[in-house]
């Protein structure tokens, strides 16, 4: 019963295999406790239905269809909400000692984090699919074609950026109270964007701030790619596609570096 050899190729192979094993643990959790996953998947649908049918009637949008305006925003919010899930999972594992247990195993050390990324991205793909289907059910009609694929890619790219923010935040604390704080703080962050209302309806300075929100950049880009009329705005709105790539890349670079530092700090 000996472990298989080293070498760069061997190491890489194990890094991938271990990441899949770690991610498989999440999949097993979803199978055994589907309620948690279902709640995560259905909450955005509930929120979307609330806005489309209850609140949206009072919100004037360019082009006139609030559902076409709202659904791209909801898709981007699912990516933002994923941050909480990532953070909770990291905090829980660190707090229960699972992270340390993994670190003392002969597995690839990177797999703890890459496994988390894989599992969370899989959950986000499911989240996107559910909201998109629900959106179609309430009458969202995106332009069919390659624009949809581009939109999906931008949304998942945003998720990758938030994923690293979540991992860093999760490694920052063992205190579940901080998770609650983040769950509360994502709301002002979500509202200070173009998800629910056009930024032109806000005071000018707030509108500019909202326009530069990473979520807003992705939302505008997704609206453009799916043929939804985009309200006029400043530079950030005009260059939404660029920002929708730049923001997630920046978030990933900064927070992945911070997370790696934090991870190494566990040995100090």
């Amino acid at each position: 019963m000996t472990a298989v050899g080293e070498g760069t190729a061997g190491r890489l192979r194990w890094a991938v295999a271990d990441a899949l094993t770690v991610a498989g643990r999440d999949v097993a959790h979803w199978r055994r406790q589907p309620a948690g996953l279902l709640a995560t998947l259905l909450f955005p649908v509930l929120l979307m239905v609330t806005f489309v049918y209850l609140l949206g009637g009072g919100i004037p949008v360019p082009g006139g269809s609030y559902r076409d305006f709202m659904v791209p925003g909801m898709l981007a919010l699912v990516m933002l909400f994923g941050l909480e899930g990532t953070m909770t999972a990291v905090v829980t594992d660190t707090q229960r000692g699972v992270t340390d247990r993994f670190r003392a195993l002969p597995m690839a050390p990177s797999a703890v984090v890459t496994g988390r990324c894989l599992a969370d991205l899989a959950a986000s793909v499911a989240g996107l699919a559910v909201v998109a289907l629900a959106g179609l059910a309430v009458g969202w009609r995106p332009d069919p074609g390659p624009g949809l694929l581009g939109a999906a890619a931008l949304l998942l790219l945003l998720r990758v950026g938030f994923l690293w923010v979540g991992i860093w935040l999760g490694l920052l604390t063992r205190d579940p109270a901080l998770v609650t704080a983040v769950q509360v703080l994502v709301w002002p962050f979500a509202f200070l964007s173009n998800v629910f209302v056009p930024v032109s309806s806000m005071p000018a300075w707030l509108g500019t701030l909202a326009e530069w929100n990473p979520v807003a950049a992705t939302v505008t880009a997704v609206r453009e790619l799916t043929g939804v009329p985009v309200p006029d705005g400043g530079w950030a709105t005009g260059h939404a596609a660029l920002l929708a790539v730049a923001w997630p890349v920046l978030l990933t670079v900064v927070f992945a570096a911070l997370a790696v530092r934090r991870w190494q700090g566990l040995s100090r």
């Binding site: 097993a28 229960r96 340390d100 195993l105």
Partner: protein
Amino acid sequence: MDASVRIRGLVKRYGGRAVLDGVDLDVGPGEVCALLGPNGAGKTTAVRIATTLLRPDGGRVEVAGVDVVARPREVRRRIGTVGQHPTVDDVLGARDNLVLFGRLHHLDRAAARRRAAELLALAGLPDTGDQPVREFSGGMRRRLDIAAGLVLEPRVLFLDEPTTGLDPAGRRDVWDAVRGLVARGTTVLLTTQYLEEAERLADRVAVLDTGRVVATGTPRELTAAIGGDRLELVVADPGRAAEAAALAERVAAGPPLPGGRDEGARVTVPVSRRAGVVGDVVRALDGAGIDVADLVLRPATLDEAYLRITGRDRAAEEVPA
């Protein structure tokens, strides 16, 4: 064969304060060594360094002949670790947990399943099926936790306070599991706050205090080192306990116990020689008109040795529970 764990001059500082301040320790192959010490003595820190989770600030640690700083991966392949809290996945069942850990030890699917079955039998949990671990008793969960540390038949198993928070039945459960492992030749380094645990499991005890190993030896050696036997007596009138203690101490002529260990009517005095001491003390007390309700001559306990070694018999503080 060399020591399975070899620690030399180990230093670890946090913010200028030395938590470990030159620890030396050897654990021989197949030995069970208990690292004993009060809260904050650095027990967990020492174990975390030996299991590659923390980097030391000074000194050298070799586990199974491999340097933990230079070659952590190789060390990880030779050890099993069990932390202070069970770290098995509590949503999964016992078997799924062990398969998961097998896979993370790079066993292929079939081998991981095989090994999981063996470990389930070893941990005495073969019939738990798909029951999630969160429904297990504390002792069962701990046993599974230990089994998860045994996937590659480690040369050295590190147990950090393996029975903290367990009820007596769970504790006995874990002790049996550890004894079973020892019989198979695994070296065990365990930390504990329970003297009874050290006494029951360990071949050797190392007392860690303020960052250093202040005493090592078999439990018997440690108790012998602080001077043999104790005479424990209960006087009928608690008001005369102090008088009885002074008298008995003089007659028994053992080295004085600093601070005294008298509780109400109970008096404990050290004894320098066993022969005749019981009769002498009873006669002396009788002569002074002090009634004795109960009297025992017994060897010093590891508890007393520990309190003496760590100097905590002078403080008001008892052994931390």
